[in-house]
Symmetry: C2
Subunit: 401 residues, 2 copies
């Protein structure tokens, strides 16, 4: 009879697009109640991002991917009544998260001190491009810009030094994840000590924190790490290869596995070739080795090679496409693609944090329509009297509060 870890936690979410909404999706998957506070008429910018489910302009696939199961209240923070409602929400909340540029919420009348006065134990979190300190603090950021500034792009790309961005907005996502870690740890402390927290998470910092050993390698060798394609920096062959119809990854970490690769491709003599006799030699001569292997692989399909390699127990894998994911049994077994309720089979990624012996969500819920929960939040969360709600909604029709 366990309940979800964050059951009963109320999160007021002023964020838009990706980093903040990703954070509150993680919190929602853990059981928190998320109230999105959205501007009238437009709401979260990502509501306008295509493509749209069934070509319905109110059903952005992007918005749906990160906002299922949240509530939406639509208020105008530039209007007096909107400010009163936000203040009342802050009083009730456990967590406030926003991704305005530093200074914006302050100009709307909600500086840190005001927020703290409204709710002395609130966990107030900001997710921004550069954070609340430093010379670039006030600059706007896009994921691509941060992938470049953080150094991540400089080590991602082809061996010919064509740098590329990670194919998803990883800087935004990492930021959302770190914000979630900060928030939950601050809630843990609050319940013990009564402390509030003011958490400041930046896309630049978050991305720098995942560069792994590149930072270390540079300091020791003074050589600037560049992109390596799909290759492992010190194990060979350990990379992707082209076959007749698709790329596959072969990860042969020792001499025995390498000999098996040579057998599979019908070139057993390579295993005793001086250039490839051990991992150090193979890494030194990786281009020659790559050519020897690939020249054979292109003659057959990916599935032919994978089954031959698997038979010899050589670690290998298909480079799955989005299409392949929908046919991948391991993902189905793990409940990692879950349907959006009422959207006829449209699926989004499931929750990767599995609590064994507890129930996993079998659907993602539905994304809120803009302002869908304005009335219910005013009534059930803020306990506004019915007559006030009627007046507010009526006035809101003419001039959204």
């Amino acid at each position: 009879m366990s309940h979800k870890p964050l059951s009963g936690i109320l999160v007021i979410d002023l964020t838009r697009v990706l980093a903040g909404p990703f954070c509150t999706m993680v919190l929602k998957n853990l059981g928190a109640e998320i109230i999105k506070v959205e501007a009238p008429k437009t709401g979260d910018d990502s509501r306008q991002f295509g493509p749209f489910i069934n070509s319905d302009p109110e059903k952005s696939a992007y918005f749906t991917s990160v906002n299922c199961g949240k509530k939406s209240i639509s208020i105008d923070l530039k209007k007096e009544k909107g400010k009163v409602i936000l203040a009342d929400l802050i009083k009730k909340a456990d967590v406030l998260i926003e991704n305005f540029r530093p200074g914006t919420l302050e100009r709307l009348g909600f500086d840190d001190q005001t927020i703290s006065n409204l709710n002395p134990t609130i966990i107030h979190t900001t997710a921004t491009g550069f954070g609340y300190s430093g010379p670039e603090s006030k600059k706007a950021a896009y994921d691509s810009i941060i992938q470049g500034l953080s150094g991540l792009m400089s080590i991602t790309g082809t061996e010919k030094r064509e740098t590329v961005r990670v194919g998803s907005s990883i800087s935004d996502i990492l930021t959302g994840m770190y914000a979630a870690i900060g928030i939950v740890s601050a809630l843990f402390r609050r319940d013990k000590t009564g402390h509030a927290a003011r958490i400041d998470v930046a896309m630049l910092d978050s991305t720098v924190s995942v560069l792994e050993n590149a930072i270390a390698r540079y300091q020791i060798s003074q050589e600037i790490p560049g992109p390596l394609g799909s290759r492992h920096p010190s194990i060979t062959p350990f990379e992707s290869f082209t076959t007749m119809d698709a790329n596959i990854i072969i990860a042969a970490g020792n001499d025995k596995l390498f000999a098996s690769v040579c057998d599979v491709i019908g070139k057993p003599e390579l295993a005793s070739d001086r250039r490839f006799k051990n991992n150090a030699h193979r890494t030194e001569n990786y281009q020659a080795l790559r050519q020897e292997i690939e020249s054979v692989l292109v003659d057959q399909t990916a599935s032919h090679w994978l089954s031959a390699l698997n038979e010899k127990k050589v670690p290998c894998a298909k480079i799955n496409t989005m299409k392949d994911l929908f046919e991948y049994e391991q993902l189905t077994a793990r409940n990692m693609l879950v349907p959006v309720d009422g959207e006829d089979g449209f699926q989004i990624a499931g929750n990767p944090i599995k609590f064994m012996g507890e129930e996993d969500d079998l659907s993602a819920g539905t994304p809120p329509k803009l302002g869908e929960h304005t009335e219910s939040v005013l009534r059930d969360v803020l306990n506004y009297p019915d007559e006030d709600i009627v007046t507010l909604i009526k006035n809101g029709r003419k001039s959204p509060f």
Copy 2:
């Protein structure tokens, strides 16, 4: 006088290399005490990974990057005394984390039920390649293999469809971060309800969860998303360009900014060119546009173009290398590269979760030598009597316990 959020939390860490150690680094940065349980003689495999600080084979830069400030106890889990010590540690712990393949810890005598009997409120977390369920559950995984299987590699690469891996082991790191979120949320619940938790986080699931809108786009269009180089899928120009000496990113999200780009490169006529008159046209003709822009950019340095673009307020950025990071003021101001104590300036990434108004660590601490804290853990954590410790250590010399 606030204390760190996870002060007082004791984590027993049986993990090696990256995903698990990354998780416990995040927990350590939040104030938890981490005790690494390592095998005698070799310890965490990554202790052997080069390069080494000052060429000292006991100072792996890789190991140092993710293990500073943790304690190390060296025991042999195949020996009876080692098992008793682990059982005693589990009794005292708040969290147990391990990344053995499913079944391994069980064979050492610690199945889930045994662990739960030893400590009925423990947060027991496993970080594995494929998770504890599904047909591939028992398979080993490497980061490269998971980047391929998850679909992330299929959308990361050049426009010529050469797929590459993300330049850091992002699947491992995401797994460590999700494990941290799961652990802290379970601790929060435990303090409220007394519930234990058995958390199962997989590299495959974790990586699938960050594919962002690629999953959605495929379902709607039935077109398989491929790699786009550094390009934004629907905004142009919004990608990296080659200059005389380095690549830069230009992110011009609207017509006005595009006109500014045209001015900066001395081709104002492009702004009224029919092929480029609005974003949709520019995206359609992105290759022609790219050529027009790049043919000019190669004549001058990156810094020349960045200052010209900045002057016109066009979002742009250098693609920083590891070298550049050490000269990047914003990172210094954010305390995002912190020294390892006693290592003469060797730095690792700092903690990206900043608690405003609270102290940030100005150094990372030191990585533990293998078994460095065996004695102090036996004495101060397990409260073994002195005479037992003397005997254990003496016997341990001959045959590590």
